[in-house]
């Protein structure tokens, strides 16, 4: 099933032509309408006239989160405010929030792109979609809401929080698709178990999750516990919100909506393109945004392009699920460590719950990392020997995966904090 079959299955050569057209017109517009870009292009001696190929893209300057902050709130808007019909702000997981705007056409485009992602994830007009993303400045709630309405699904704007009530709604309203963060899906799954509700009492078929990194192990767990097909989707408010890319039911990576976004993967330090298939920082140029176009925006999200065609027939390139953010990257004893690496190790180990916390301290100039993991009840109360055996296994696997040694502690079930929005799993006590 496709939402826009012609666009989603467009021949690569046709796509390249369309991308070039849209890129050139975007450059002409930002040069004309956004003083920030005009200045930047002039300083670098770039004229939109000597731009003639997608291969010229690396000659354009990057736009960074810092640029957005310096132009807070409306400095990078390409249309007058009277044409802006919606304002959102980034969720501010890291630092100051940034403000983005949408014209009426942008909202239409956004709805269509989210409709593509939802359709790819299995949602049709016959579904009842419960949106447990927060509604507000964060783009997740409204983005998915408009997309689901566009498809014609029945949308329940449940918003985030109040898990017991969400579960009641899920049962009473016969929700068939759950939308939210993967960590919230985990929380829902656990609460259902606790309340003694069998999965068969739910009508859930699909789950579309995003807004934070999650591992393949976590997907398996969510799918098993809720009895659904869980797909990942990706977006960020600076670019659009949800709708940038999403998995189809093959679940082998996220299809990028390349007719609307030009994507690159670069090395976050050398800023040059990485070799095909290598992980790096995702850089996005918008091709159709009216109010808030972005040229080579450094997302700080880490991903890689996946090779090969998808049997689903979509021709948009696949990106791997986002492994973390360049600014999530922890430098521990000089080694780059991503929380997602730790997560995927934990998921492979039997007897642990998918809740963990990473605590970093510095003692006498030495970094010390402790990973707190919730143990499944059965193991925790069983025998000390099995417990310490498990700690040892985790320690070894983590050392192997990360290249540094970390301390592991098992904690009782339900002792670590739960998150309804984006999870915060790292506590860095180092004063750097």
């Amino acid at each position: 099933m496709y939402w826009e079959p012609v666009q989603e299955r467009m021949d690569r050569e046709e796509l390249a032509q369309l991308q070039l057209e849209r890129l050139e017109s975007t450059l002409n517009r930002v040069y004309r309408n956004v003083p920030f870009y005009r200045r930047k292009f002039d300083e670098l001696g770039i004229s939109t006239e000597d731009f003639g190929s997608l291969d010229d893209l690396p000659r354009l300057p990057f736009t960074t989160k810092e640029d957005l902050r310096q132009n807070y709130p409306y400095g990078l808007f390409a249309v007058p405010m009277r044409e802006v019909v919606r304002i959102h702000a980034s969720s501010g997981t890291t630092g100051t929030s940034t403000v983005v705007g949408y014209t009426l056409n942008d909202i239409k485009t956004w709805s269509n792109l989210v409709a593509r992602v939802l359709t790819a994830g299995g949602v049709t007009k016959d579904d009842v979609v419960q949106i447990s993303f927060g509604y507000g400045l964060f783009t997740g709630g409204f983005g998915l809401h408009y997309g689901a309405e566009r498809i014609g699904a029945s949308v329940i704007p449940a918003s985030s929080g109040n898990t017991a009530r969400q579960i009641k709604i899920m049962m009473d309203f016969k929700t068939t698709a759950l939308v939210g963060t993967p960590s919230y899906a985990m929380l829902v799954a656990e609460t259902i178990q606790e309340m003694g509700i069998p999965v068969s009492a739910l009508s859930l078929k699909y789950g579309l999750f995003g807004a934070e990194p999650w591992s393949e192990g976590m997907r398996q767990e969510i799918q098993d516990k809720l009895g659904i097909v869980a797909t990942d989707n990706y977006g960020l408010s600076e670019i659009l919100g949800p709708g940038v890319s999403g998995e189809c039911q093959e679940r082998r990576g996220l299809h990028i909506n390349e007719d609307h976004f030009l994507v690159e993967v670069i090395h976050p330090e050398t800023l040059t393109p990485v070799a095909a298939g290598q992980a790096g920082e995702l850089v996005i140029t918008t091709l159709t945004k009216e109010a808030f176009p972005m040229i080579r925006y450094r997302t700080r999200d880490l991903t890689s392009f996946l090779p090969g065609d998808c049997p689903c027939g979509r021709t948009g390139r696949l990106m791997s699920r986002v492994a973390g953010r360049t600014d999530d990257m922890l430098i521990i004893k000089g080694v780059n460590v991503f929380p997602s690496q730790i997560e995927s190790v934990l998921f492979e180990i039997e007897g642990t719950e998918p809740h963990y916390q990473i605590v970093i301290d510095r003692k006498r100039a030495m970094d010390e990392v402790t990973v707190l993991v919730e143990a499944a009840e059965s193991i925790f109360f069983d025998q000390m020997r099995r417990q310490s055996g498990m700690v040892e296994t985790i320690r070894k696997r983590l050392a192997h995966e990360l290249g540094i040694s970390v301390d592991v502690k098992l904690v009782e079930k339900k002792t670590l904090q739960r998150f309804e929005g984006k999870a915060k799993r790292v506590i860095d006590n180092r004063k750097l």
Binding site: Q17, L18, L20, E21, S25, N28, R32, R82, N105
Partner: protein, 245 residues
């Protein structure tokens, strides 16, 4: 069907088109809107070979046509209905139509021309009635029909039209636009240049906004119609005044 990349073109030292990139897909009506002097006519003249592009690529059905003479381009299936009709006033309607059939005569398919004329008269019954009248005596709308008819005689797959509604009364204009839609419905592809942006976007699938030789916007006709810049600049809506009301 038509793919243009980074085309630059102009007259003498005057550069009119500055890196224009666009395409027309098979079966589409694509319109180019823009103010006077934006380069719309220059673009059509460049594609049809009347003007030589200084740089860039022009591909018609994947074949580079940028260096071909105009008659060769017509021969390949890409015809222009020029701005201001450009009919031969002292010749009859039928003679004007026959002039459009030169590729068929050259292919020695003179026989087929008779069928083609019949087909054309099917689309434009009025021209059959006026068959023996001199082209110069036709009304503006009839002349436009004749200009389109002449272009169709070459059996083009892509018809490019330059301001077909120019100087026509609103009702006549409506007829011309319904003919454009009909051409597309019968399997033709149309590239339409129009000052009357609203009417053009009303029948088009997609459009481009050309501004001082540059494409500044590409989109579905629907999106362009609801774009405020397009409304203000080309659809004659004074949004600020509306806002004050």
């Amino acid at each position: 069907m038509l793919r243009i990349r980074n085309v630059e073109s102009g007259y003498g030292r005057l550069k009119v088109l500055r890196k224009v990139t666009m395409h027309v897909g098979t079966g589409e009506i694509v319109t180019i809107i823009g103010a006077n002097g934006a380069g719309k006519t220059t673009l059509l003249r460049t594609v049809s070979g009347l003007l030589r592009a200084r740089s860039g690529e022009i591909l018609f059905e994947m074949r580079e046509i940028g260096k071909l003479p105009p008659e060769k381009i017509v021969f390949l299936g890409c015809s222009l209905v020029p701005e201001g009709r450009q009919l031969f006033a002292p010749m009859t309607v039928r003679e004007n139509i026959l002039l459009g059939a030169f590729p068929q005569f050259r292919r020695k398919q003179g026989e087929a021309v008779r069928d083609d004329i019949e087909r054309i008269y099917g689309i434009f019954p009025l021209l059959r009635e006026r068959e023996h009248q001199l082209a110069g005596t036709l009304s503006g709308g009839e002349q436009q029909m004749l200009a389109i008819a002449r272009a169709l005689m070459a059996r083009p797959r892509l018809v490019m039209m330059d301001e077909p509604s120019m100087g026509l009364a609103p009702l006549v204009m409506k007829d011309i636009f319904s003919i454009v839609t009909r051409l597309r419905d019968e399997g033709n592809t149309v590239l339409l240049v129009e000052q009357n942006a609203r009417a053009a976007l009303g029948i088009a699938d997609r459009g481009y906004v050309l501004d001082t030789g540059r494409i500044i916007l590409e989109g579905t006709a629907e999106n362009l119609l609801s774009n405020r810049d397009v409304q203000r600049a080309y659809l004659g809506r004074d949004l600020d005044a509306e806002g004050r009301m």
